[in-house]
Symmetry: C2
Subunit: 191 residues, 2 copies
């Protein structure tokens, strides 16, 4: 936040990810993270409430990204079309940070407390997406259904991407998963 | 568990729900729950690990219910058809306990820690449903997608039901939400 600490937040995130990967989440202290980043503990706590939050990024940025993507979807986009715009925008950000995303996921997979925090993040995203779709004029019930389903599709696509080979592209995989859902839904009707 | 304490588990659940509704979750102790149920704290801890778990039911029963419902879906049911069987079976159980479900939801809505626990329950159900669909011979990727989407649909239908008038029937609402999803998915393709 001070100009004498350029990109303190980013440096702390990077240092935390390194240490969590090397030593494990439990075994790392905030003091060690601050030291690795060349900053003080006080600076750490100006940016993050605890050891966990450093893995959960910039809520403000995420909010802005989703809102902007949904707003810039074509006026005649369907509800799931607008959801696609939001999800692929998030996907593009993660695609840029693929190696970090992988390391982060490996840390989360080792720790139930972090898995819970990730579930909360996903639920928050679904609520935010619902709200954004409503602001677009989509009816309340359709907005919640499209948003919750969209986040479910995102989870599945993300898991395929994070576990798959390097050449995979997350935004493409999100679109493919939405198309698969479309085909599952079409089959549902033919029971 | 002892035959001298008939239905101890159910009595503890009932007592906890009453006290949480009357005084709030935070303000209630395990000693008070045990007393209200006419049982000892020791008996409480034989059934539940902590104050939270008494609200999260019988994991074994849920497991058996989902597995059985998916297994008994017609052989030619689609992936989402098998998901429907599981979700409506869960829905029928909740429909039977409507008043309890409402009280429980009101307690959960007041407490972020309980909301997190509910998210974990939902994630566990999605994983279980995925596994059950795979056991049915549905391909891995389709199974995860159908299960995660199904749980998303369930959440939306449940919320409509719990907030709506008494005459609503949860299994019917789950089927309607699946049909709405089908229609959203069909519109997605026509962008």
């Amino acid at each position: 936040m001070g100009r004498w600490e350029p990109n303190a937040r980013g440096r702390l995130e990077e240092a935390a990810l390194e240490l969590y990967s090397e030593r494990g989440f439990e075994q790392t202290t905030v003091a060690q993270i601050a030291e690795r980043a060349g900053l003080t503990e006080r600076t750490y706590f100006r940016h993050f409430a605890d050891k966990r939050e450093v893995l959960f990024g910039f809520p403000g940025q995420l909010h802005a990204g989703i809102t902007e993507a949904v707003a810039s979807a074509p006026a005649d986009a369907s509800a799931l079309g607008a959801v696609e715009a939001a999800l692929t925008a998030m996907g593009a950000v993660l695609q840029e940070r693929r190696e970090k995303a992988r390391k982060r996921q490996a840390v989360i997979d080792e720790n139930p407390e972090l898995q819970e925090r990730e579930l909360i993040k996903m639920a928050t995203m679904a609520a935010l997406l619902t709200e954004t779709l409503r602001a677009r004029g989509i009816a309340d019930s359709a907005a919640a259904l499209a948003a919750e389903t969209g986040i479910a599709v995102f989870k599945v696509a993300f898991e395929r991407w994070i576990q798959g080979p390097d050449r995979l592209d997350l935004p493409t995989m999100i679109r493919e998963a939405l198309e698969e859902l479309q085909s599952l839904a079409a089959d549902y009707g033919t029971r």
